[in-house]
């Protein structure tokens, strides 16, 4: 395993560990404000310094990992839950179902990048649930397309024909035969989409329309630190670097999985 992948794995492992066990660490409360101590540089008492309201930055970063992973996995879960069956059905039945599929996907994909997510949070308002929904909406077409393409390819295969000849009903064929075989490519796409989802969640929070203000999400922290960034760059450097490293790790892992498991996905980064 190349060193870059070991690095990626280590970072993700650390992230997961921190996210799950965060509250168990002996760190100050990430929400506890202490204006007297505001805007301090890293010191013995606050290893990464404090933010504009005196909250310990390290514990906020640790707490933020939970939110980032929540957004990432949540959005991917939404995408899989809706996109996977949709694409599966479209690929299996073809015809009218497929045509409807293509139209709906076209509509979802008609909006560039974060515009769709922005539209959703504009309507539903801020909050982490709405954020997951908004980002998830963007991942649905990705999963739908992949599962449709894979299903189409598998439908012609002999074992599917055999299953149908033996009298398997359509949903049985889909569930027992097609689904287990498309899991591989879907996992690759899922890992890359998690990175994208976290990024979009952070972007929306940075713009102020994602999570609610006091939530220690990394993007929101960047936004909060921005007015003070000139004199206190650590407010911006710390969450930013954390985000970047997490994204790098996820991208490395996703690329590695893709190269190892399926060389077909050369262009599929979206």
């Amino acid at each position: 395993m190349p060193w870059s992948v070991r690095f990626g794995l280590a970072v993700i492992g650390l992230l997961g560990l921190v996210a799950v066990c965060g509250p168990l660490f002996p760190l100050p409360d990430p929400y506890a404000q202490n204006i007297v101590n505001a805007l301090q540089l890293p010191s013995a008492m606050h290893w990464l310094g404090t933010d504009s309201l005196g909250r310990d930055l390290l514990s906020r970063i640790v707490a933020g990992s939970r939110f980032s992973l929540l957004i990432g996995f949540g959005a991917v879960a939404v995408g899989l839950a809706i996109g996977l069956p949709f694409g599966l059905l479209a690929g299996y039945y073809g015809g009218l179902v497929d045509t409807i599929f293509a139209r709906v996907i076209d509509i979802l994909l008609a909006f560039p990048g974060i515009v769709l997510a922005l539209a959703v949070v504009a309507i539903t308002g801020p909050g982490i649930g709405n954020l997951i929904l908004a980002v998830g909406l963007r991942t649905i077409p990705v999963f739908a397309r992949v599962s449709r393409a894979e299903t189409l390819a598998l439908r012609q295969r002999d074992f599917v024909e055999a299953a149908r000849a033996l009298g398997c009903r359509p949903y049985e064929v889909m569930y027992w035969h097609i689904l287990p075989n498309i899991v591989g490519p879907l996992m690759i796409v899922a890992s890359l989409q998690t990175a994208t989802a976290i990024l979009i969640g952070a972007t929306l929070s940075f713009l102020g329309v994602g999570v609610s203000p006091e939530v220690p999400e990394w993007g929101a922290m960047l936004n909060a630190g921005r007015p003070y960034m000139m004199g206190h760059p650590h407010l911006v450097l710390v969450p930013g670097c954390t985000l970047m490293i997490a994204m790098m790790a996820l991208n490395i892992m996703g690329d590695y999985l893709r190269d190892r498991l399926d060389p077909r996905f050369l262009i599929n980064r979206d």
Partner: protein
């Protein structure tokens, strides 16, 4: 035959846009809360509210409202901003050129520099230039746009005051925002060009060309590039979409007066007509660019036209 291809694609655009306008319209109507209440304020009497509703046409059935909206769209009337009470189309129009300027500059940068770096990296695989390009491009792909933007603001606006970091008004103002917005796409295009070119280099016809005595330059430019560039150019359309969404963030960081910044402000003020109009505008821009890329792709690669 090219004309048929183009006209088919253009015709396909119209129903998509229609459905889009309906979706956007419906979405905005889904907002919880009474927009009239939001405009008039909590102290307004029921009569005033009812009057406003009639004036804005909000008490008609939704389909009728949509009909009016559609009619308005056809003449270019997108409604009035709830915030500034100006026409939506004029608000958008004033800022649209700034955004397009930024997006075009970013796209040009990412294509030119990206393809250039990709070529350079492909020509010397496995040495330090290639490795460092790959690391830098990994960083570029993973770094959030707003993060690099803030870094640039810190670096060039504060520590070394080389470039202005706010507002538009000249080439110097364009440098930082355009570079920031191009970074992710640049990294991606570099990787893609490199991979694509390496694959093309291993093909037989390249070997034949070299065996026939063609100079390395001619081999690269005339034979290899044409085919290797198909992949990056295809992606360019997708990347433009990503660029447009990146522009939204960049405009906020660098105070660039474009439609991205307008969108964020509109969302924060819940200025529904502007939000509606802007979403349509973004979708339209995206659709047009994709159409252009499709047409270009059809011209470059004759195999596509036969579909």
């Amino acid at each position: 035959m090219i004309l048929r291809y183009i006209s088919k694609r253009v015709l396909y655009l119209i129903p998509t846009l229609l459905v889009l306008s309906f979706v956007v319209f419906g979405l905005v109507r889904l907002i919880p809360g009474d927009p009239v209440l939001a405009i008039a304020g909590p102290d307004a009497t029921p009569e005033v509210l009812e009057e406003m509703r009639t004036a804005l046409g909000l008490n008609r059935p939704m389909l009728t409202q949509y009909g009016f909206y559609l009619k308005g769209l056809l003449v270019g009337d997108l409604g009035t901003s709830l915030r500034t009470h100006q026409q939506v189309w004029s608000e958008i129009g004033r800022r649209l050129s700034s955004t397009l300027e930024l997006a075009a500059a970013g796209m040009a940068l990412s294509l030119i520099v990206g393809i250039g770096l990709g070529i350079m990296a492909a020509l010397r695989p496995r040495n330090w230039a290639d490795a460092s390009t790959r690391i830098v491009s990994l960083l570029g792909v993973s770094s959030p746009t707003f993060w690099t933007g803030l870094l640039f603001v810190l670096a060039f606006g504060y520590y070394w005051r080389l470039f202005p970091i706010a507002g538009s008004g000249g080439l110097r103002h364009l440098v930082l925002p355009a570079f920031t917005v191009s970074l992710t796409s640049l990294a991606f295009i570099t990787r893609l060009t490199r991979a694509s070119l390496i694959e093309v280099f291993s093909q037989d016809y390249i070997r034949t060309a070299r065996a026939k005595g063609a100079s390395p330059l001619r081999v690269i430019v005339h034979h290899a590039l044409q085919n290797a560039l198909i992949a990056p150019l295809t992606v360019a359309g997708l990347e433009f979409g990503r660029l447009v969404s990146g522009v939204i963030v960049i405009e906020t960081i660098f105070a660039w007066p474009g439609i991205g910044k307008l969108l964020i402000e509109a969302i924060q003020f819940r200025d529904w007509p502007v939000i509606q109009g802007l979403i349509l505008a973004f979708a339209l821009i995206f659709a047009i660019v994709n159409l252009a890329v499709d047409i270009l792709y059809g011209i470059l690669d004759p195999r596509i036209r036969l579909e």
